[in-house]
Structures are given as C-alpha cells and as structure tokens.
C-alpha cells in the first residue's frame, strides 16, 4: 500500500517536473539554446501571477490567462532583442547570456519583492484531496499532472499539425535550407521562446501554489527540468513527460528507503538512462 502510494505520488511529482521542463525542451529542441534562466523565468512568472492575484483580487486561474500573453510578449522580445544576437555556431555566448540573465532576474526580483517567501493563495485547493482506491491523492498534484498532459498534447498539435509547427521543425532540422524556403529562423525562434514562456507561466502557477517561492529559488528547479529533457530525448515532448515521471518516481522510491536517497536516486536514474540510451528514450532528431 505504501509502495503503491509512493509510486503514485512519484508519478504526480513527475507531472510537475515535466511542466518545468516542457518550455526548456521546446527551446532546446528548436534552437539548441540552453536557457539557464529558465528556472528564474518560472519564478518571474510566479511573481507576475502573484501581483495580479493580490492587486486585482483575481482568482489564480484567471490571473494565468492574463499573465500568459504578457510572458509570451516578454519571451518574444527577449528572443528578438537579446538571444537572437548571440545565437550561432558557438553555443557558449547564449549560455553566458542566459546565465547573466538568471542573475539579473534574481536580483531584480529581490529588489522589487524583497527576500520574503511568497505563495500564490489558493485556499480551496491546496489541502484538498480525493480518494483514489486505497490511497489519498491531492487535487492540486492531479491538476498539475493533467495540465502537463494537456500542455504537451496542445504543443504537439502545434508542432505537427500547423504551418507554424512545420517551420519550427524545418528550422530545427536545418536553418539554412529552411531559410531558403522562405522561413525566417529569427522570427520562428521568437515565437518559440514566446510559446515556451506561456508554458513557463502555467508551471509557475503550480510552483507558486504548491510551495513558497522567493527570488533565489529558480536555479534549484532547473536541474530536474534538464534531466527530464535529456532522459526524454531531444525534441520529444512526450519523452520529457516520461523523463519527469522517471525522476519523480525514482525520487519518491529513494526517499521511501531513506530520505537521504531522495535526490540521489533521481540523479542515479538519470545516469542509468544515459548509460543505456545515451540519446535519451525518444529522441526525435539526430544531430
């Protein structure tokens, strides 16, 4: 019973990790850009939602609907104005820029919101649970998991069934040839980053209701997101979900043995997958 509970909780935790990772996976898959500021972007979005909830008295769900387009615009601008200038054959400059961005966002948030630990209030849901057979699961983790699936289904529709997605895939495969066919990679990149920021906003809602956040908390969330992306395989969003679940279950199982093993067993699961499938479980692109 305890084992069943542990595994179910691990799968639900995987949903959270997958949400953290999907935006990263999208950006990484399309433009090979490793966004080290991804965790800080999630925290930034969480503050944006918090501000909307606190000042306008909105429900967090409505606040997300307002925050998402704002974050899309921010991502679009960021890509157009900053990141596009540093993309190139050398992967180091964008890495450095996003690293700097991470520090800048943290300190700007610290300046604006102080170091207080904050939380997006959602009193009806945060302690709510439902019985799933013999075990109790939280409503919030269930919603997180469901959101991860919905986000991935929608993104996959966009990528595989729309002209925009076609240009994403074309640019990802070969930006030069895609350019010859009339696709402007820089514009495509900007839209992709914007979309990633929409996903980031959804992740921020769950991060902010699940636990407290403060300006410095972003980078700690980044490593699991990276691992989920790598385990899943480059360019596969379902793979990212699978990666998140593998890390989540490994963590809860490890913790059930001894809490000291919680984080380590997630990392071990990651290394084992890399040993067996160095390209991840479901790699889409080979490059």
């Amino acid at each position: 019973m305890i084992w069943l509970d542990t595994i179910v909780q691990g799968i639900l935790l995987g949903g959270l990790y997958a949400l953290f990772a999907t935006g990263l996976s999208l950006v990484f898959g399309i433009m090979r850009l490793v966004n080290l500021a991804h965790g800080d972007m999630i925290v930034l979005a969480a503050y944006l939602i918090l501000v909307l909830v606190m000042t306008l008295g909105l429900s967090p769900w409505i606040a997300v609907l307002i925050a998402a387009p704002v974050m899309f615009a921010l991502g679009w601008l960021l890509q157009r104005v900053v990141l596009n200038r540093v993309l190139g054959p050398d992967i180091l400059p964008p890495l450095l820029v996003t690293f700097g961005l991470s520090i800048a966002i943290q300190n700007a948030l610290l300046e604006g919101f102080s170091a207080d630990s904050r939380r997006i209030p959602n009193p009806e849901l945060e302690g709510a649970s439902m019985a799933l057979g013999p075990i109790n699961v939280g409503v919030m983790p269930m919603l997180t998991f469901a959101s991860a699936i919905v986000v991935i289904v929608i993104l996959n529709r966009v990528i595989y069934a729309t002209p925009l997605g076609r240009s994403f895939r074309a640019t990802s495969d070969d930006p030069v040839t895609a350019g010859l066919m009339g696709v402007e990679p820089m514009k495509v990149f900007a839209v992709a980053t914007g979309l990633a920021m929409v996903v980031v906003t959804i992740a921020a809602l769950y991060l902010g209701t699940r636990a407290n956040f403060d300006p410095a908390i972003g980078p700690a969330r980044l490593i699991y997101a990276f691992q989920a992306v790598i385990i899943g395989g480059l360019g596969s969003l379902w793979g990212t979900l699978a990666g998140g679940i593998i890390i989540g279950v490994a963590q809860t199982l490890g913790a059930a043995v001894n809490p000291e093993w919680q984080i380590l067993s997630g990392h071990i699961a990651f290394l084992v997958v890399l040993l067996i499938r160095p390209r991840g479980l479901f790699p889409r692109a080979y490059d």
């Binding site: 509970d5 939380r119 945060e126 636990a211 407290n212 809860t252």
Partner: protein, 424 residues
C-alpha cells in the same frame, strides 16, 4: 548638521546621560569616530534575517551615543566564503575597532573565525550557540580538543533551550508522545537532528519518542516518504528545522494525504509572520520558538524604548510587520556602544575584548553578560544565553497572524498570553 564636536559641547554643557558621557571619553582621547564593522546577509536566501539592518543602524547612528560611531556594512550575499572575505576586508582595509555579526551560523561563523585569527574583537548573535561555538572548533567531533576564543563573543540561546521550549508546549496537550522529525541535510538539521546529542535526546529525557526517517535535501518537492513514516508511527507531533518552502510543501502534502498531527512545532520555517501568512488558514496554531517579540518586557539601554515601541517604530518606518531579528540587531548596537563606553583606547583589541567579557547590560532582548550562566564550562567564556519562549500563531479574522506566547517554562520573566491549543 549635528557634528561630533557639537555633540561633545552639548553633552558637556548639559551633562547628559551616563552612557553618553562615558562614551565621550574615548572619543575625546581618539579625536576620531569608533569604527564598527558589520557583516550581514543583505541579499540571498538569508536576507530575511537582515531586513531590519538598515533601519537599526540608522536609528543607532541617530542616538547620542551613536554620534561617536561609524558603522561600515558589508554584504555577505548569504555566502560563508564571501562573509569571511568581507570580514578580512573590514579588518585590513577599513581598520575597524570592533566587528559585529549576526544571522545564522552561515554568516556568524566565518566572520567570527576570521576575527579570532586576526585578533579583532567580535560580538555575534542570532545563531544557536552550539553550531556557533562547536562549529568553529578545529575538530567538532572531539570535545577534548575544544578551545575557548580570545576575541569572539556570542549571545543567543542554545539547543537545550529549544528542546525545553518545545517539550513545554507539547506537555500542555494530550498526546501519545510520538514525534515525527523533519531534519534536513544541512548544518542545522544535522546538529539538531542528531539522535545522541541533538533534540531527539532532549525529547527522550522528557518521555517523547522521535521517529526520524532520515536527512532529506533542502528544497525537496516531495515529502510522501516522511508522511508515510509518520503515519505508520502514529506520530501526533511534528518537529524539525525546516526552511519555509519545504514546510509549505510538507504541510500541503500532509493534508492532501490525510495526515493530521495535534501539534507542529518547527524552528526556522515559521519564524516570520510573512512565511506564516503564505500558509493562510493552514498556518493557524502552528508553533515555533520566540527569541524576541513586542511582548518581551525589556527596554533598550540605548533609546529607552520598550520592545513594543521598537516594533511599532519599525512598522511605521518600513511599512512592514515586525520580525524577531529586529530586537537582536538593535541589541547588538546596544552591546557595542556599552562596551566602547567602557574602554579608553578602542584600537586596542585586548582592552576591547576584556571590556566585552565584563559586559553586564540589560538590553532589549534580555540580560547580556558573559558570566557563564547556564552554559557548559568549555564555552562559558564566550557564550551568553538570552531567554527563549514558545509561541503559537493565531489567525485573525483579517487573515493576519498574531504570535501568542504560550510557554515560558525556562524564561518566566516573559509573560504568556495564552495556552497551547491543538491543531484542528
């Protein structure tokens, strides 16, 4: 403009207070301001502890005694390595006369160690004394090798006080005396969670059994393992030293997974009203240690303010709720100015260190005197204990929280304002 010279004229003309005239003596001899170095974590995860620093320093410099001082503040960025670096900087480049430091062992220890090595007196506070004293020893595992310090002095409470306060609170409830322990894998968690010398040992003596599933990593996203362990042990009490985000995650998951203890008493996570407010209704009747509050019946030796006055002044000035560190940061400058008022040559570290050791002062956080009272012999010269009580957060109708003192077994001079209530 109020200058030092003007201050001296006015003090001699009006024959001001004892403290101020005492302070004037070294200032005249020196013809310069006394330099205080202050290392504080102004940014980074520990910044909450340093929130009132700027306020307290400005208030201190505005007092009559404060006119004789210059305070040089350096930001440790919540990083122990940087704390040691800026401490060295203060000693060598700024040539400070006395170092002040506060806010968790991560900040106090590197600074105190640097000062001890450089032979500069340091007054430290706001870290339980065991991690401060033992943590700075060459071999913390071997008590026979522990040595007292010549220049480092600390005042705060210790683990034994924390244990006594928690037990005092739980004794007021009808429980099965089974405790679930949440101790992370960090300096505090390892020290306080140690089954032989940590809190579980203190609880055992009081008849409580601690179930500790093991050290977890800070910023964990999942506490299912701990919740299942506490459920199967039928724990009715939860304790530990938990950082705020982890506590929220734990308490949410516990409620989602149907675990409802009668008491939750944790250190660290729910010290500040801001962190409790983030919990909403779920914060009602959580309990924590109180080192200072507006209800503490003490007065500032510097300004004559009561604890209540200080808290209200801070709230009016900053527009933010009072927090426990305010009183301690204030007291740090009380002690510094008292010490410097009793020395003739502030640049002589030996004399300043001797003056610190001879301190006997009623401050806003209680009596500060390094007389070894309540402290084991090995640390008696360097550690002074301030009173600790226990409190419960009570939610008001408007969503705010009041910290109500419910347990004063080891500090009866601080009045209680209620009794311990079980969680719903």
């Amino acid at each position: 403009m109020f200058t030092r010279r003007k201050f001296l004229t006015t003090t001699s003309a009006t024959g001001l207070t004892l403290a101020a005239s005492g302070l004037a003596a070294p200032a005249i001899a020196q013809g310069r301001k006394i330099k205080l170095g202050y290392v504080s974590p102004q940014t980074g995860p520990l910044a909450g502890f340093a929130e009132s620093d700027a306020y307290n320093i400005a208030r201190f410099l505005a007092t009559e005694a404060g006119q004789n001082f210059e305070v040089i503040v350096k930001d440790s960025q919540s990083n122990p390595t940087r704390a040691a670096d800026v401490a060295k900087d203060l000693i060598i480049s700024d040539e400070i006369d006395l170092m002040l430091v506060a806010s968790t062992p991560e900040n106090t220890n590197p600074v105190a160690t640097t000062c001890e090595a450089e032979g500069i007196p340091v007054i430290s506070t706001k870290a339980p004394w065991q991690p401060w004293f033992i943590g700075q020893q060459g071999n913390p595992g071997d008590p026979s090798s522990w040595r007292p310090f010549d220049f480092a002095f600390h005042y705060f409470w210790g683990m034994e006080d924390l244990g006594a306060v928690f037990v005092g609170m739980w004794d007021q409830l009808d429980t099965n005396k089974q405790i679930g322990g949440l101790f992370p894998n960090d300096a505090d968690g390892n020290a306080l969670g140690d089954p032989d010398v940590g809190l579980p040992a203190i609880f055992r003596q009081a008849g409580y059994v601690t179930h500790d599933p093991g050290r977890y990593q800070n910023l964990s996203d999942d506490f299912t393992a701990q919740i299942n362990a506490f459920k199967s042990a039928n724990a009715e009490i939860v304790t530990g030293v938990v950082i705020p985000p982890d506590f929220t995650t734990f308490w949410n998951q516990a409620r989602q997974q149907g675990f409802s203890p009668k008491a939750i008493s944790v250190a660290k996570a729910i010290l500040f009203p801001q962190s409790v407010e983030t919990l909403g209704e779920a914060g009602h009747n959580l309990s924590s240690e109180i080192w200072w509050s507006p209800q503490h019946p003490f007065q500032s030796s510097l300004t004559g303010q009561s604890s209540r006055d200080l808290a209200e002044d801070y709230e009016a000035e900053s527009g933010r709720p009072w927090t426990q560190p305010i009183g301690f940061i204030h007291s740090l400058f009380e002690v510094a100015s008292d010490v410097m008022g009793r020395v003739t040559s502030p640049e002589d570290p030996e004399e300043v260190a001797a003056a610190i050791a001879a301190t006997d002062l009623e401050t806003i956080v209680g009596h500060v005197a390094w007389n070894g009272e309540g402290v084991p012999d090995f640390a008696a010269a360097n550690v002074c204990k301030t009173p600790l009580v226990g409190g419960q957060w009570r939610r008001r109708e408007d969503g705010g929280f009041d910290l109500v003192c419910v347990e004063n077994g080891i500090a009866p001079q601080i009045p209680t304002a209620g009794t311990m209530e079980p969680l719903a």
